[in-house]
Symmetry: D3
Subunit: 287 residues, 6 copies
């Protein structure tokens, strides 16, 4: 799966399930249910740590048991997928709008990787007419920072690319760090792209606030029951070609965990919260 | 200049001046003196921040004024160059021997970039029969970490390559951080390859000791008189091809400064010191 | 407006609106509504950052639309103003009672500026028979500390005046810091009189707990939606007469923001909470 | 009372009241009510700081007023006691199950004193087949650590006893600190066996996470209203025989308070929370 | 004595002793010696904590015993006083020159009180053509900040006056803190105008470097032998008129101690050092 | 060897060698030399980590080679032993005198274990008429704190015994921590009785200064060449009888290392220094 970002993956999964349902042209409801369940398992196995993917699938499939007729099932799946995607898009807009209010004219921003929610905030601040400057890290190994800098430059925002090692060097220039999240745990820890936690540490050392931008479907109910967010390790080829490094191990963790104490605010579509309010958000989502 | 590492550059400069003197086949001592001085300036301009380069040149040229005959000049230059190189090599050996005593059997080591002095310590510990595991960062943009991991693997040392962003993630596994230095200031700050200071910060956060390995000719007398160590910015092509990133600035600082408070010891050929003893080392070097 | 303290201002505004309504002797309900709205805007413009002022006005005016007859409008305004003031006064009493339980006999207290809620706690502890000693800062530029020390001395409490710069010097003598709040943000940050944040930093450095005393109407719902609490800058004459300092700029910010990590507890009329529970308080206030 | 641990004491008190009710063989309901109330006071006086004891008694006696007949009273007391004990036991099981999910195979654990909830987590992780190593402190003065190490060794868990002073020395070996709680305050501070707070400090210094294991009946509603958790001082004979130390004072505090900032998670039977969610737990318990 | 600053006081004392000697128009050498000694004691008693005053007097009087004739005594006193003053002035110039090298074009500087050495650095940077902006604190109670801002404005430097409480608020704007010193202890602690230590704490919190500017005669040999630098308390009238504050104590400490860990460098006329090199400076001064 | 404290052991060793020499009643100088060398090795093997023991032996045996006649050898050994012991005693006196100057009237002191040098400071302050209160830890496993509290009580000093776990609890009462040292490394780290480092950490957390009292013969030249101070592990019977704890491992490290950053001053007989001046002290001792 070459789609980047936990939010984009969740929406793509919702869409895939919708299409599977709509394209199903036979009449056996149980077969379709089975196929939907299998597809869900396959989707989950591609990114076992993404709580947003699981939340998306649960949302799309929530009426599967209650659907008794094949047309109903198709319709429910399609509608739920549309709702998930629409809500996710609205959440992004709202996060952009709320987060942008915390950006001041002239602010110098540091971002990492390529987060839709973080970009929503930066772009909104820019379209509000605030003059901002952005530093973006390369984000090895996959270099998603390249996408970020191109997007920001296209929008006419002043943007500077740095290597991941230069974060502490430029931190004294930074007014605010803005990044996304893959998963948020019940104690407020934020799991995000590898490198986020050392950026947050450098920011905390220099008293620079860290804003996490995250839709509420990234808050993990599972962490309430003790599940640790497993940090995925990806193929070593993402780093180098192992054949060129005989005898050398390559370790390629994709995420790391930033402790809540290094985070100033999490901007969600429900508002600006402390990371320590994660327990409340999870309870609210449970209804 | 494609030579890596402040020590290697200093020795290469000494050798270059020696060869210039020995290859000079005319009789005009003043012309040779001029050429030596010009060559020194050229060498210095390639790496304006490298105090070790300046120390090497000063050492090689120290008898230039007192040399009255062309043979004496050639001989003095050659002898001083040999002395500098020999002392530099001996310093590396001694640092390796001293530093290795602080490595314990079973230690997991993190290193950054490609430092001769840091490698001397690691290799010495290995040849002492200590079972060690080394993590080495890629060290973007020039990826000198590749040289490090190949060298260590060739020597039969267990070594793992990580991207620069994974430092904090693996810090809890690390027993000691071992890196080199480009320059050491009179207040104990260590200027080294970009990324060193955030590695040291991550180590300090997790109570992991940081060992700096540095020959005493890397201690900067100039910082005593207030000179700031200028952080060189290199060509943006080292990071990416700017043509592929229209409208995007690229910022490529080569070094950063690690404050003394994040450093446990500096291992020099004169012994193991606190970074705060930099003033003493500078005074001892002045005689 | 020469009234000090966010709580006093809020109550004064409620009273002003009540009097405006009661003194209105004509029959045109729309004119009165307009006058009430204009007066509210004028009041708000005097202290744009005071969330308590806004909360007070909202409370007093909440039935303005539903009031169809001029007598009803007058009555509603007057009743709501009375309710606001009564609740605010009760909140102060409750805060005094609750907060005082956390004061131990013999405690040495540091306070800053002139906060009704902080004084309520100190005075309640004193009236409980606890022997306490209070240090109070001068609180430049307006020197509200003078009012504080006079009030405490009048009540027979041992009190010592210090300049604002002496805070860290005397911190080792202090058992607890007790101050008020102007506004509390949704992430637990406390906006209060300039100097509060460096007092809290000094306390945190010395492991001295910081108690913030704040009625719940000081918690800012606006910060949920991303609004930054604008730090008011006041007239430079409060600091010096600019005419005596030609060519010198004078910068006079009235508040600063203390991060939640430096705060032990916030004492509200609903109980003792962590600053990180600000989100819950705001939700409870919304009902 | 020679029973260790806040949870065990609470359950023993419930059982004692149940037995008192069942063994009462006269007919005067008022006498029994009086005896139950007196017994409760006596129980509370043995451990004035234990919120769990108070919570247990309140639970057992909650129907005392509503019970009009002697048989009803006996039955209500017995049933409520059974319910309390059953819920407390279930809570322990759930905590064990949830907490164990956060233990990784190969983890080295540090524990202090003898906490049923902390042991539930450790034993559950062991029975899940995870290979763990435990360090346990002696826990002077009463040396409850002896019970802990014997229990763990009996279960076949690799366990090492250390003196209380060796905590910081071995912290670099530790992956997670797991301890219980006596009381949890509304701001997230955890009151537990003397020494807990310096263990948590040492853990925080080395970035080692601290897990507090606590049933929700240990959260103190009283701290909401400003009550400070009084730290009990016990008989100096627990430390030494004072007769052997003429002229020497002996100070024997039983608990200390660990600030929330040094705690990673609290594992309760309701799930894994940040200590800063204490306010929510207290509100949920109030219903 | 209305002279400000430890350096100015030292020079004034040297001058006073010189004038006493030159104005003595009788012939009795022992009377002059007695008068010189008495004058010295009087001078010392005005500022018992000022090590620079003592160093100045010791320097001026160092030949008093060896002077056998009245003319010699007069001449020795005058010459030694001139030497002290000349060296002190040279030291200021050198500190200005060295320190200014550490100021970068565009730097925003924070200073406190009115230090000749700190001003020497700032003025030198300005005359080097560097564009700088200076924030200066009021420095209650004596408001020496007024002298500082007037001096800097007169020199055409952009300068802004703030109250002492606004330091943390503006710290994020600051590139470097530059202050003087009254006394430097053998462990590197810096005693300076009240408020310095909380400025240094705020700077450390935000990773802003602190530069102390101090002539070496401010390093205290006495602290080597355990003497604590007594913090002088001055007349409460400096703060307020006590008559207007019946029952209120006023505490007016003049200095505080900044621990070495919050100081980046001390700039002396011997060069830029870490505060931890204070022991070396004291030994060098002893010869 | 049942003698406590690095200084006492060093002096006992000097005495033992002296007695061996004086009691030797044969004429063969080579036999005596052999016996002295064997005795030295035996002494060293009892406490392999004690640099002071090694320094004492080196001092006593320094003329062994140069002694050609049996009487000279005996005399030299005896004289050198006397000199070592006399100097060690003088150092203790000087440390007591210097250190006591840093104690203020009314100070509350915390000490750990049983250090002659720390006691010298405390007793000197007491005999200077300063009213002090001392807290002393039990110091498990050997409970040397019992000796400390008895000694202090005998001298009429107010002293309170606590368990080792109560250190952080009482830290807010403490004005200064005073402990001894076993060995001081070249980077300023202090090796001392297990528990010292967590006491220093607790002190640093609460801004309480830590004074290390150490004769200069405790500074380790070996650490200059990279030697790590090996932390001795002693017999598990010191902790408990292993037979009573089947299946339980017992780990009994005797010392730990306190990093220099947690230490305010080291008081030596040469004066009050920063721990970072350790390199200078070692160089001065080498001459």
């Amino acid at each position: 799966m070459e789609i980047r970002g936990a939010g984009k993956i969740a929406k793509a999964a919702a869409l895939a399930l919708k299409e599977l349902a709509l394209n199903y042209d036979k009449d056996d409801i149980n077969v379709l249910k089975d196929e939907l369940r299998k597809a869900s398992e396959t989707l989950l196995s591609t990114r076992p740590t993404a709580i947003s993917l699981e939340n998306a699938i649960n949302c799309v499939l929530r009426d599967i048991e209650a659907s008794l007729r094949i047309e109903d099932l198709r319709e429910n799946i399609a509608r739920n997928a549309d709702i998930f995607i629409e809500n996710a898009d609205k959440a992004l807009d709202t996060i952009g709008e709320i987060g942008a209010r915390r950006i001041k004219d002239g602010d110098v921003i540091l971002t990492h990787c390529n987060s839709s929610a973080a970009l929503a905030v930066i772009l909104h601040a820019h379209s509000d007419g605030k003059k901002i400057n952005v530093y973006a890290t390369e984000s090895r190994p996959k270099k998603q920072g390249y996408i970020t800098v191109r997007k920001l430059a296209d929008e006419g925002i002043s943007v500077t690319l740095i290597v991941d090692s230069a974060v502490r060097y430029i931190m004294q220039e930074i007014d605010i760090v803005i990044v996304g999240a893959d998963t948020i745990a019940s104690n407020g820890a934020v799991i995000n792209k590898i490198g986020t936690s050392q950026i947050a540490l450098c920011a905390h050392e220099a008293r620079v606030p860290v804003m996490i931008c995250a839709e509420t479907y990234k808050f993990s109910k599972e962490t309430m029951t003790g599940e640790l967010v497993k940090i995925e390790e990806r193929d070593e080829h993402e780093v180098v070609d192992p054949a060129e490094f005989p005898g050398v191990k390559i370790f390629n963790p994709v995420f790391d965990a930033t402790p809540a104490e290094y985070i100033d605010v999490i901007v969600t579509e429900r508002g600006v919260i402390s990371p320590y309010a994660a327990y409340e958000i999870i309870k609210e989502m449970e209804g």
